[in-house]
Each structure stands twice: as C-alpha cells, then as structure tokens.
Symmetry: C2
Subunit: 351 residues, 2 copies
Amino acid sequence: MARIAVIPGDGVGAEVMAPTLRILQALDVSEGLGLVFDTFDFGAERYLETGVGLPPGQLETFRREYDAILLGAIGDARVPDGAHAREILLGLRFGLDLYINFRPCRLYAESLSPLKGQREGQIDFVVFRENTEGPYTGIGGSQKPGTGDEVAVSTELSTRKGVERIIRAAFAWARKKGKRSVVLGDKSNAIPAHQLWLRVFREVAAGYPELEARHLYVDNLALQLVQRPETFEVIVTTNLFGDILTDLGAALVGGLGLSASANLNPDSTPLFEPVHGSAPDLVGQGRVNPMAMFLTAGLMLEELGHAQPAARLENAVLRAIRAGQVTRDLGGTLSTTGVMEAVLRHLEAPA
Amino acid sequence: MARIAVIPGDGVGAEVMAPTLRILQALDVSEGLGLVFDTFDFGAERYLETGVGLPPGQLETFRREYDAILLGAIGDARVPDGAHAREILLGLRFGLDLYINFRPCRLYAESLSPLKGQREGQIDFVVFRENTEGPYTGIGGSQKPGTGDEVAVSTELSTRKGVERIIRAAFAWARKKGKRSVVLGDKSNAIPAHQLWLRVFREVAAGYPELEARHLYVDNLALQLVQRPETFEVIVTTNLFGDILTDLGAALVGGLGLSASANLNPDSTPLFEPVHGSAPDLVGQGRVNPMAMFLTAGLMLEELGHAQPAARLENAVLRAIRAGQVTRDLGGTLSTTGVMEAVLRHLEAPA
Ligand SMILES: CC(C)[C@H](C(=O)O)[C@@H](O)C(=O)O
Ligand SMILES: CC(C)[C@H](C(=O)O)[C@@H](O)C(=O)O
C-alpha cells in the first residue's frame, strides 16, 4: 500500500489533478497498486483566510504517514510577491530536505519541438537540479527599502554536503541508466564560490571513469542546449540555474504542458509536481493540458517501485500525443477531459 | 578624432581583431572618421609573466585619454579559475562603471536560426544587461575550503541606483528607437531581493505610458525566448540573468560568431567586445568567425557618433551572410581572411 498526499493547490492545479487521479485509479485497479489518496487544501485560498501556508506539524505528518506528495500548482496573484508559494512549495522542498529536483526532458514527437531537425526521442536528457540551497534559502533582504539608498542583497549558499549529494545522485543515476556523460553547469569563472561545484564534480567524477564528465559555464550550457540538445544526457546544476535550464529544456520539447518533475531524497517523503505554474489565464475553461501532471504521476509510480505501470502510463501519453489527441498548446483541439479519456483508452489498449 | 584602445587579448582575440582593424581603417579612409588606434597587450601572457591583469593607473588613462576600448577576447586555461579574465574584463566593466551591457540579437538570415519558421529580421531584440552589480561584485567566498565542512557563499548585490539606471537606460532607448515594449526578467518570486527590480521597473515604466511594460520571471522568459522570440524588443535584466539570456539569444540567431556587445556609460569610456570567448580550440587555424567582432566595431562606430558608417558596416556583414561568404560555424567554407575580404568588397560596392 502507498499513501499519497494530494495537494491540488491554486489555479489550474485542481483541473490537472482530477483527471490524474482518475488515471491513477484506473492503473490501481488493473495493476493492484494499493494507492490511497488524502487531499489537502493548501494554497492561496487557505493562506488568505488563515495567513498560514503549511500548518505547524504538517511536515512531520507528511514524513511519517505518507509515501509521496502529489501537487498540482501553487501561485495566485492575490498573494503579494508569491509569499505563499515560497512558504508551501519551498517549504516542502526544504522542510522535507528533498535535495534532488529531477526534471526529465524528452521529445515525444518531432512536431513538438520548435527546433529544426530534431526527431522523436533525439532530445532526451535529465536535469538534476540542486533543491535545498542556492539563493532559495532566503538569506538576504533590503536595507532602506523604498528609498533612493536601498540596497538589496541575496546570498547564494552552497555547502560541501549539499553540492556533493546532488552531484553523487546525478552520477549514480547516470551509471544505473547506462548513460555516457554527465555535464556540470556553473558560473565559476565569474562567481568564485562556484569553484566548490567544480572541485566536487571532478572528485566525484573520478569514481565514475566510464562516464564522460564535462564542465560548461551556464551561459554556454544554455547556448548548447539550443544548438545541440541531443548531446546532453544528464545535467547537474545549482538550484537557480536548474530553474532556468529546465524551463529552457521544456521549451525545446513542447513547453510546460509536458514537463514533469520529482523532488527526491531517498530518506524522506518525495514531492511530485509539474514544472508549470497555476496558469491563471486558463482557469475554468477546461482546456489546460493535463499531460505534465500525468507524466509527473508516472515519475511518482516509478519512485514508489512501480516501474512497469509507470512505463505504461508514459507510453499511453506518448500514444495520445502521436494520435494528435492533445490540447490547444500542442496544436490539438481536445479539452482536458478529452485528453484524459484518450490516455485512459491507450492505457487499456494492448501494447 | 577618436582615440581607440585596442586589446586583442587571448586565444582567437588577435585573429578577429586584425581583420576588424583592416575594416575600420577602410571605413576611416572612405568616411574620414579620424580613428587612431593604440594597442595594449593585456591578457594571459602578460598576466602569467607579471601577475598583473590591468596595470595600476590604467583605468584612469583609459578614462582620460581614450574614446573607446575595443577588446577581442580574454580567457586562457593556463590561468586557474579565470582569475585574469575577472581582473581584466570585470575590472574594465566595473572600474569604468560601464553599467549598461548592450547586447543586440538579430536574425540576419532564416538559415541561421535553429528555430523552425523564423524569417530574416523576425528575431530582433536587445538585452540591457546590468553590468556593475549582481554576484559579479565578488562579495563572498569559502569557509574551510577543501574540507567536508566547506560552505561557499556568493552575494548578489542590487542597489537602487544600479537598478534604476539600467532600467532607465532600457526605457529611454526603447522610446528613442520607437519600440513598443520593454520586458523585465527577474526571479522575485523566489528571491525577495529582486522585488527591488520589480518595484523600480514599475516606477520607471509609469513615465513611459506609450511602452508596454511586461514582467516575466527569468525561467519563463528563457522559455518564451525560445517559443516566441519575435515578441521581444527590449529586455532589461540582472547581470547574471543577462549573461545567460544573451548566450541563449545568440543561439537563436546563429551563435556566438555573430554576437556583438557594448559596455556603456555616457560619462565614461565605453568598452566593446564580442560575446564569444577566446575559443582555444580554434586558435591558429585561420578559420575563426570574425563577424561578431565586425559587428562589435559597428556598435563602437555608432556610439562614437558615426551612425552612417556603422550601418554601412552592418549592411556589408549582412550581404556577406546572404551571399554565403561565411566561416564553417555558419555553414560556409571561408577562412577568417576570406570573410574579411568579402565584407571589404561589400563595403565598397554601391548599396
Ligand atoms: C567571461 C565571463 C566572466 C563573462 C561574463 O560572465 O560576463 C562572459 O560570459 C560574458 O558574457 O561577457
Ligand atoms: C515558483 C518558483 C518558486 C519555482 C522555482 O523557482 O523553483 C518554479 O519556478 C519551479 O521551477 O518549480
């Protein structure tokens, strides 16, 4: 049995979560996964009412009683400066010490890429984004805010422990999956603190002689991701650079409607969320693309030890894409529900 | 008369500088620009010999006696951690207080873009990259380096003055050039210090009611640059994000072989450099693409008040590109000298 905490969240969160739960339940029935879902109403509404994003003790409850957290989206223009998103989203990532933000980037169909000459499957890399340090720790602030003398600072933190564990995770995964290379993206030529990344990368790489370890400055990495995305397999990078590079990666393979992510720590309760946000402009129209959430659920199944059902789900999404059973962002005409029904049909069809 | 300090620098620096000076001299003769060139040998060689990147007093000399600095490239693997690049390149940017890093991104020919369906001229935006603050100030360092307890920090600095002047520069330029929009890229949803950027952006924008002022989180901006680059005209952003976004922009229009940049402050001596680095793998082969340096020289001419010759130069480069008179990186077969000769011929041909 696996107990899953479901947080639909804000905006389109509920609209992508509902069909995802339908699909998970269908898989549960046919594969006997024993999934149990509890829903939590964390998000802007509750934050605006109570002033609290994550109630006290919640992290402990998640750690002790749940095997996974599945989250739709957090973000609402009524909350100034995204305060509740930081409290909930970063609160979960940091509070549960989920140091691996695992974000795959795969081209499911040639037509989905804005790039010339990229064929299906040719773009296929994973970003290991550090997820508990960087400028996301919130160290910093403003002196004399609102005046002409204002000085605002933000401190990017990298610890040996933090850098080493994400780099080790990337190399270990690359070995397990039989990949050929791991690329580090940093900015050590301008930011001396990033030399820690480069040093640890070289140290860890020495234990993986079968893997090519390449180092690129992040600006050059962004450029090469556009010019030759097919040369990347595993990228490991800082929290901030990972944020930018994974949106860039999403753009190369069809956009945020297809981008899944997993926040992991083998010793904690993992959090699964699509890379997209709450998309307020799409709310209530029934046409948001639920596929990123489906693929995110697939990552969850894999992490829960259900590799076979996870592959079945990804394959069903792939078939729906090939059949043009997609929402408007991918050039189709289907509604959110229509996409769900198509994926359900492909799930049931023989392989 | 205009006195220009020429720094060929490292790697391919000299190889792109020599043909650029030939072209500037040809323009000088035909247009009577009165350009005077003095060459400086700053770079890795001198740094390795003397331990000094920029000699004491050099900034003052540049400020007092020169109208512009033209730089090829700085970077050499023999200098650990790019120390001399920081001392020279960042030394000039910071020491001369060149707060505007102006980087245009224009698609000169459809075939140059890796993107589907982008036609000549359709991608045409400029990035105003803040150039004197950010994590580039060097605030930070490592505690217990090399140990398991190492903690490395880097502080990103934003001052009201620094943020305001780059944002004002972007809006003023957009108005002068009759553009329709200015986009801010920051990460204020995760980095509270970036709220200074957003506040100042909104304040300055209020003085430009004819311009659409759009705000995007940098991850989303990177994504949209790939998905719909034609919707951007003027982007203003932080030092670090500008570094990444301009390499990304370069990738969209043909790569670093065509990317020019100007480091500006109306009250100081400006510095002009291509976005590319010293490209050690290309040194001595006579086939590096000099066009980024040519276009950079064009930006210099414009800044020196020679808009007409600057346009003539850009146009000659454009014609060479259209005629396929390009180096290998752009799909051609010409040498560096061959490209120079082609551009010289187009310069002389009637428009
Ligand atoms: C060499 C490096 C310090 C520099 C920068 O980061 O500014 C370069 O990437 C650039 O964009 O000019
Ligand atoms: C909402 C924001 C704080 C978040 C981040 O920067 O991590 C998002 O962009 C993401 O990538 O998950």
